[in-house]
Point group: C2
Chain length 281, copies 2
């Protein structure tokens, strides 16, 4: 329509060519959406009120617009586009990336490889092991590995207190290996007491994420990677509320009887082992 051309035309004097390009596309798609559904004035006002509520719901501890982006699949799309772009730029062969989520804790203290990071949280013990390599499988020594997850009840330490639990930072060994003890995480819901929760209910959707452990891995000369390992037995693998599941990131939690674990630790109760190798581009 003419008004769409007019609105785009008004960008003629935009200083930054990239901003101009982004806003041109945004205005075109926004108008096309409104026209496509023949949006009514009442629906428009509902949208205005929803966006306002979403902004008002954001606090230092909560980012409802990121949650909106997550639950509409936009955050994951942006992650996938970034990895595809890096790949086209020659950074190929990396483990698939997924969303970072809001629970990363900058500056976790470094722990020795093999440490138990559960710090007393509820949950069945699990030994996580793997290797950090480059795209060709060559080991990367000294890679910085941040890991974090919910506890066995589905809560992050940030949601339950001030102490770090089921969260730590490691450096990969000379052969690229890493290992640590934590718990087997549980599926959990994204926050549903705000505008996004109302939207999910209107959509007839559940709010759950399948069980996973977050990894952020950085090494000199390689592209940083933010990803998860998902529990192959978890509920909601086929319907992650934030669309973060990639088949290549699903791993088995192998159950073992009490006794001597592969790293020599003697376990008084049953435990799991998880193998998850990570390739950096």
């Amino acid at each position: 329509m003419k008004i769409t051309r007019d609105a785009i035309g008004r960008l003629a004097d935009a200083g930054d060519p990239r901003f101009k390009r982004v806003m041109t596309s945004l205005i075109g798609h926004l108008h096309a959406f409104v026209e496509d559904v023949d949006l009514t004035e009442e629906e428009w006002m509902t949208a205005i009120q929803f966006l306002t509520d979403t902004g008002k719901s954001c606090t230092g501890r909560r980012q409802e617009f990121i949650l909106l982006s997550d639950t509409l699949g936009v955050s994951m799309l942006v992650v996938m586009l970034a990895q595809a772009r890096a790949s086209r730029g020659g950074l190929k062969g990396a483990t698939e990336a997924t969303v970072q989520g809001p629970f990363f804790w900058e500056g976790a203290p470094e722990k020795p490889l093999g440490a138990d990071i559960s710090n007393g949280v509820e949950g069945e013990p699990a030994l996580y092991r793997g290797r950090i390599t480059d795209a060709k499988g060559r080991p990367i020594a000294g890679a910085l590995i941040d890991v974090w997850s919910v506890d066995g009840g589905g809560l992050y330490d940030m949601q339950t207190g001030e102490e770090m639990r089921a969260r730590a930072r490691f450096r990969s060994a000379a052969d690229g290996a890493y290992s640590f003890w934590s718990i087997r995480p549980k599926h959990y819901p994204v926050p549903t007491d705000g505008p996004v929760g109302r939207m999910l209910r209107a959509m007839g959707r559940h709010a759950y994420r399948p069980a996973h452990v977050h990894f952020m891995v950085k090494a000199k000369g390689h592209a940083p990677l933010v990803t998860h390992v998902f529990d192959s037995k978890s509920k909601y693998l086929d319907s992650d509320a934030v669309f973060g599941v990639r088949d290549s990131l699903i791993a088995d939690f192998r159950k073992h009887k009490a006794g001597k674990a592969p790293d020599g630790r003697v376990m008084a109760k049953p435990y799991y082992t998880v193998a998850f190798d990570i390739r950096l581009a």
Copy 2:
């Protein structure tokens, strides 16, 4: 992309078919925009922060998301679609509608036709006259007419104090006629001290609306109409910050020397007359 189909597919159990249709289109267009511009993670975070700031800027007296919608041409598009829909439904022939804006004051007291509503505001006097008719030109008696405008300095009464000025409500006469004295309004900027102001500056755009007087007209048996009359000599007619100008709504402010005005009032200084007829569908 698959993630777009996944996100849309997650609406399978939405209860309200219209909500499902709107969200299907929204997700499709939103993903297409992100993919089209290959949105980076940094740009995505800028957008999240912008939307959050926009929500935080909304108060009881300010609606920054409506301003965002206005300045992207979305509000006017919604107005045009509503009028086109009404027209397809048989409500044809009305005066063109435009945006209501945030300065309507519900429940202004009714004044007698011919009254001076300027209430002492700065500005050159102007006599507004016209007829309220149906689409075939037949007079509508007793139509409820709300009018409001900025003063001659470009400010609404709501921005300067608690008293109604350059704002009133009338009833059309038996022959559909209305008339009142007010001032000749000035062009003025939308608020620029918030996120939308930053966006307009990045776009290289000015923030001005051309001079206009708002009309809201309601009559039994007719579709209500929200519109403006624009001053044909105003700056910014070709670049209204909110895309509200329609050619059919532009009228001449005819200047007259001091003396007896057409309604018999004796004016001690020069004044203007404005003719603006309004058709209701």
